[in-house]
């Protein structure tokens, strides 16, 4: 339906010698069609080594270099690659923006959504014993540093301030190490590549990519919900979004490695258990995700990390109930709004829609502060929003700290 690109004018040869050169170029002629009649040989001017009117243009075989030159290498087409498979695989990478958002991620990971954080984490957040001395003041200083003081220009860009804010908050949480020595058994890791495979229905899915900041731990996270709740999820029915298929917006590949399971680190890494993933909305410049898609990305990568761990612990065979459910947390931010996620992997048997489901606790769009303006917002000569930090909410940082301390307390 779309027109084929026509040959460029510069490909044509201008043999005429006595015509005017400044006239407009004649319109490009369509190249003569080459007709192959079986049983007949084309008489070409190839042997005569010069053009002869009336004879056909010779067609030579494509010249291939007989040695391997890395600067001139043409990748073979997909079906000639050694890893080509007939069955396609749908890959969720860090730039995927899923059309249906969290619903699609829940269907793909066979999970049940519970809004709000689990009660144990909430109680961790509220208890005063786990607070940093001068917590509110120090957090507000951290926000002001990220939003106002970090640049010589007027205001830092969103990517910069969300990055600085996250590192400041993490640093604040790490100051509690003297009280909870288990925090010392953790480490941060960046730019690690994750890859897991699983089967859902008849299709193969993979999660791959460099997602965000990973907080690794030597010990696994304790499970958040008990066996009773895990058994109750078997009655939950996954929401379907017909007519859109669940693999929409996922990258379809025919060339892939089967059963690829890589948590990003080699065997013998001292911090094998993924604790929390920290996502930033401006992480990838080429990819702008809307809030629903951003949350879906968080769910998928938390699931990917948990599944990679489960495969390395229990093997790649699907297991309907894991002896010890694997928990991974995730925090996503855009500099002001935070999304908190806790993913508990209860089963690796994801091919059917029945059976025990995984669980997702999601706390969406939690504000850390209302406004951080350089100049006050004045409407009709009245200050509506003062300059500086306004509307700080201490509960958000308490939740952040609770997710951080989960497992160490």
């Amino acid at each position: 339906i779309w027109r084929r690109p026509s040959s460029t004018l510069s490909d044509r040869r201008h043999f005429a010698v006595s015509r005017c050169l400044t006239a407009k170029a004649p319109p490009a002629r369509r190249p003569r069609e080459r007709v192959e009649i079986p049983g007949f040989e084309m008489v070409t001017y190839g042997e005569r080594m010069h053009y002869v009117p009336g004879l056909a243009k010779p067609v030579y075989p494509q010249w291939e270099r007989d040695y391997k030159d890395p600067r001139h290498y043409k990748t073979p087409p997909a079906h000639q690659m050694p890893l080509y498979k007939e069955k396609p695989c749908y890959v969720y990478n860090q730039r995927t923006s899923a059309l249906e958002g969290v619903r699609q991620a829940l269907w793909l990971t066979k999970a049940k959504l519970i809004s709000g954080l689990p009660p144990r984490l909430l109680s961790l957040a509220e208890s005063p014993a786990n607070q940093i001395p001068d917590q509110d003041e120090r957090v507000q200083n951290a926000i002001k540093h990220a939003r106002f003081w970090d640049t010589t220009e007027d205001r830092p860009c969103k990517e910069k301030y969300s990055n600085t804010l996250l590192s400041n908050l993490l640093h604040l949480c790490a100051t509690l190490q003297s009280r909870h020595p288990a925090i010392g058994r953790r480490i941060l890791a960046e730019k690690y590549s994750l890859a897991t495979t699983w089967k859902r229905g008849e299709d193969l899915f993979q999660v791959r990519g460099q997602n965000g900041l990973l907080y690794n731990c030597m010990d696994p996270l304790p499970e958040v919900s008990g066996k009773q709740e895990v058994g109750d999820t078997a009655d939950h029915v996954l929401k379907s979004f017909y007519p859109v298929s669940p693999s929409i917006d996922l990258q379809k590949v025919h060339v892939y490695k089967e059963e690829v399971n890589c948590s990003g680190f080699r065997e013998g890494y001292p911090y094998p258990h993924a604790h929390t993933l920290y996502f930033q909305e401006e992480g990838d410049i080429n990819c702008k995700l809307r809030p629903k898609q951003f949350r879906a990305k968080m769910v998928m990568f938390a699931f990917g990390n948990a599944l990679a761990r489960a495969h390395s612990l229990y093997g790649t065979q699907p297991q309907s109930v894991l002896g010890r459910p694997i928990t991974v947390q995730a925090v996503g931010t855009n500099g002001r709004l935070f999304q908190f996620l806790v993913f508990q992997l209860n089963t690796t048997d994801l091919s059917g829609d029945n059976g025990i489901k995984n669980q997702v606790w999601l706390d969406e769009d939690v504000e850390l502060y209302d406004y951080a303006k350089l100049r006050p917002l004045i409407k009709k000569k009245q200050v509506k929003v003062p300059a500086g930090l306004a509307g700080y909410k201490p509960e958000t940082f308490r939740k952040f700290l609770a997710l951080y301390l989960h497992g160490a307390v």
């Binding site: 779309w2 510069s10 040869r13 005429a16 010698v17 050169l21 979004f241 007519p243 929409i248």
Partner: protein, 300 residues
């Protein structure tokens, strides 16, 4: 930078004492249009204009369908020679072209050719046409189509190529072949040849009427009251095209017309000829797009 190097290369070729015919290879490499020094020192000229490659239409020659908007090059009413062919076009706000899939019955490559449903994800304004466009998603693909009057986000629209014995009670926005619709339905996005894609009744607020169905063909009245006869397997969408108040809008000022890319007409008073004035004529005869086999006398 590249132009300077091309220029120096061309000038270097001209300093050769014997006028030699440049090899065609060098000619095609220099991007300065025709650079052919002639034998006998007759005309030795070269163009310093930019490349004569007409790359004005390359932006619309992609083969892969994508929903991402494509940057468009405005022609200003000029054709390939650079002269104005259509007056009154030029300027206006920059527009990005969104590839619309006019072939409504476009089966996805993996799926079987059966009737399918799609979900409307977004209905939005399109700068390139008067109607609104809708992003629909079905199966594994998303595409843009012309939106009908009451299309909202979240609607499910059905596309079918099956003609049953009974006429289908069609909802607005669904697409069926003409043979499956009841007589008298308002239709839009009519295709003349089955499978070619719709070419008629696409403007804002327009709709055609299915008048009658005659053995394998159907007769549709277009918005200009012209009647056409097409095969009954041609797929149409049901309902009126979106943005029905498009003809009632008031431009308000000359500047708004300029934003739309419409340049003022020439102010010269020109005597109107036989084409002007109100004409009352009978309707043109019905146009037949069905290629019926000719009845020849030599059939044995």
């Amino acid at each position: 930078m590249m132009a300077v190097s091309c220029l120096t290369r061309a000038l270097r070729s001209l300093t050769v004492s014997q006028p030699a015919l440049l090899s065609a290879q060098a000619v095609t490499q220099t991007k300065l249009g025709t650079v052919v020094p002639c034998t006998g020192g007759q005309c030795r000229g070269f163009l310093t204009t930019a490349s004569l490659d007409q790359n004005r239409t390359r932006w619309k020659q992609t083969e892969k369908y994508t929903i991402k908007p494509i940057g468009m090059k405005k022609t200003g009413g000029r054709d390939h020679s650079g002269k104005i062919r259509t007056h009154g076009i030029g300027g206006g706000h920059k527009q990005k072209y969104r590839m619309i899939d006019f072939q409504r019955l476009h089966y996805e490559s993996d799926r079987e050719p059966k009737p399918f449903e799609e979900k409307v994800v977004e209905v939005r304004y399109d700068p390139c046409r008067s109607a609104d466009i809708a992003l629909v998603a079905g199966g594994n693909r998303k595409r843009w189509i012309i939106a009908t009057e009451n299309m909202q986000t979240g609607d499910i629209i059905k596309t079918s190529g099956v003609i049953g014995r009974m006429a289908v009670s069609a909802n607005e926005g669904d697409a069926y072949p003409l043979g499956a619709l009841p007589v008298g339905t308002l239709v839009n996005n009519l295709e003349i040849q089955p499978g070619k894609g719709s070419e008629y009744i696409r403007a804002a607020g327009t709709s055609g009427v299915l008048l009658r169905k005659v053995n394998g063909t159907a007769i549709v009245q277009l918005p200009s009251k012209q009647q056409v006869q097409v095969l009954e397997t041609c797929v149409v969408t049901v309902g009126r095209v979106s943005n029905i108040d498009h003809n009632k809008r008031i431009i308000g000022k000359a500047g708004r017309n300029r934003w739309l890319g419409i340049r003022p007409s020439s102010g010269l008073w020109q005597r109107k000829g036989g084409w002007a004035g109100r004409k009352i004529k009978p309707l043109p005869p019905m146009k037949n797009y069905v290629n019926l086999p000719s009845i020849s006398n030599n059939t044995t």
